[in-house]
């Protein structure tokens, strides 16, 4: 230990708070000046903590599952009635879908249609909430050999979740569709009208910038649009709901409040990425 004289030590103790407050301002400036450095620091910390989270996640996941089981047992009658009704409805849809599938195959044969290649995907576990008060993001545990890359699209078993914005060696951060900085180009499936889905940190993102005279209607299905080259077209996003205050919102298919595992799809698209991530060559072995 350093041996300092008592007055010197007292002076240092008195000075440390103002000095650190000044340092906090310095850190703020640094954070604004060098966003890449901050991003790297965030991912280094996330990588370092990933083993801890992976271990802690097990019991927490077990408790969550138990709670869900209990809820399911509690609601079993109502759930059963709902499922019966839904099953009847889906049976009718299945018949329609099979008829359409065969018709589609016939038409494709006649048009010499070149099908889209099946996209590559891998699954990753959600281990930590990476957002905070004013942001909605999750941290994924990605194994070293898995090709996590910025710009990959995350989907859960139901629909669109968000995009990979930061990648470390063992972890990746996904900015959720509900985040205030999230802007997703979408298509309204009925009218084929384009619009932008804007996150507002609430459960339902809002719709903006639809074409004149083609306002989104209640119940319209919302899918992603290939505009700007950030997403492939047609990924399921949600359903339009008009809020009480008279704004069109999207009820997402994905259950963002209970994400366990997400699929990361690589469509090889690099639209709307920050310039530094496109300009820099990626390290060998990724991609």
């Amino acid at each position: 230990m350093l041996r300092l004289s008592i007055p010197l030590r007292q002076a240092l103790a008195r000075l440390s708070l103002p000095m650190l407050i000044a340092a906090a301002f310095g850190v703020m400036l640094l954070g604004k000046a060098d966003t890449l450095l901050v991003e790297r620091a965030r991912m280094v910390l996330a990588d370092a903590l990933m083993p801890v989270w992976s271990v802690v996640q097990e019991p927490v996941g077990a408790v969550n599952n138990a709670v869900r089981e209990a809820e399911a047992l509690w609601n079993i009658r109502a759930e059963n009635a709902r499922l019966r009704e839904e099953n009847d409805r889906l049976h009718r849809w299945q018949a329609t879908a099979l008829a359409l599938e065969s018709e589609n195959a016939l038409l494709r044969r006649q048009l010499a249609w070149v099908p889209d290649p099946a996209p590559n995907f891998f699954t990753a576990r959600v281990v930590a909430d990476g957002g905070g008060t004013y942001a909605r993001a999750v941290l994924l545990a990605t194994a070293v050999q898995l090709p996590a890359r910025k710009g990959q699209v995350a989907l859960d078993e139901r629909g669109f979740v968000g995009r990979v914005t930061e990648v470390g060696s063992r972890s990746a951060r996904v900015l959720l569709a509900t985040d205030i900085n999230s802007r997703i180009p979408i298509t309204l499936e009925n009218s084929r009208a384009r619009a932008i889905m804007v996150g507002n940190n609430a459960a339902r993102p809002r719709l903006q910038h639809w074409p004149e005279g083609q306002a989104p209607r209640e119940g319209d299905r919302v899918v992603t649009s290939a505009e700007a080259g950030a997403f492939p077209s047609g990924l399921p996003v949600g359903v339009v709901r008009w809020s009480d205050s008279g704004a069109p919102e999207v009820e997402l298919f994905a259950r963002l409040d209970r994400l366990d595992v997400v699929r990361l799809f690589d469509f090889g698209l690099t639209g709307i990425l920050p310039p530094e991530s496109v300009a820099r060559p990626e390290p060998r072995g990724r991609r």
């Binding site: 703020m28 989270w53 004013y134 609430a202």
Partner: protein, 179 residues
């Protein structure tokens, strides 16, 4: 040298004793860092990390300031900002200011009842949330919505009694060990 209390002889200042003292000194900040890491595990309530940070810093500043020096507060704030997507430095500044203000008033608060301290905590949390909101707006150059702040404030105030109960137990155990 002060006379030993209740006839216990002071053990010699060996390596073990020094390690013991260092660990006891570092315990509050280490526990706070551990809490931050645990609070990030997703349980369906976003913003838990910040809701855990402020009570810990507040409590230890009042009741054991020697164990929560400004550098420790700085590191805790930095860890909080890096784990969440908050603008870097905003959490650091809020925690340091709370620490500074509480250091000034701790002599008044340290003997007060739990309820009064909780009330003061609520006021501090409101001020801290307002400052964090303003800093986020300033640094992102975009007006942040106020509902998440209020939501987080509620969690933070509700968590304080629970955390304070556990922390005061730990504090008392440490006092007993030192007596």
């Amino acid at each position: 040298m002060k006379p030993p209390i209740r006839g216990r002889t002071e053990p010699p200042a060996g390596l073990l004793r020094r390690i013991d003292a260092i660990l006891r000194g570092a315990f509050p900040s280490l526990v706070t860092l551990g809490l931050i890491v645990l609070a990030a595990v997703p349980v369906g309530a976003p913003g838990l990390v910040m809701a855990v940070c402020l009570p810990s810093v507040f409590f230890w500043t009042i009741f054991r300031p020697s164990a929560m020096p400004p550098p420790a507060v700085f590191i805790i704030g930095l860890a909080q900002d890096l784990l969440t997507l908050a603008p870097l430095g905003s959490g650091v500044l809020v925690l340091l200011l709370v620490h500074g203000v509480m250091m000034r008033f701790r002599s008044l608060l340290v003997r007060q009842s739990f309820w009064l301290v909780w009330l003061v905590y609520a006021a501090v949390a409101v001020a801290g949330a307002a400052l964090a909101w303003a800093l986020t707006g300033l640094l992102n150059w975009q007006l942040p919505p106020s509902t998440p702040a209020i939501h987080q404030l509620g969690i933070s105030m509700g968590l304080y009694p629970m955390l304070a109960w556990v922390l005061s137990r730990a504090h008392r155990a440490m006092q007993n060990a030192e007596a």
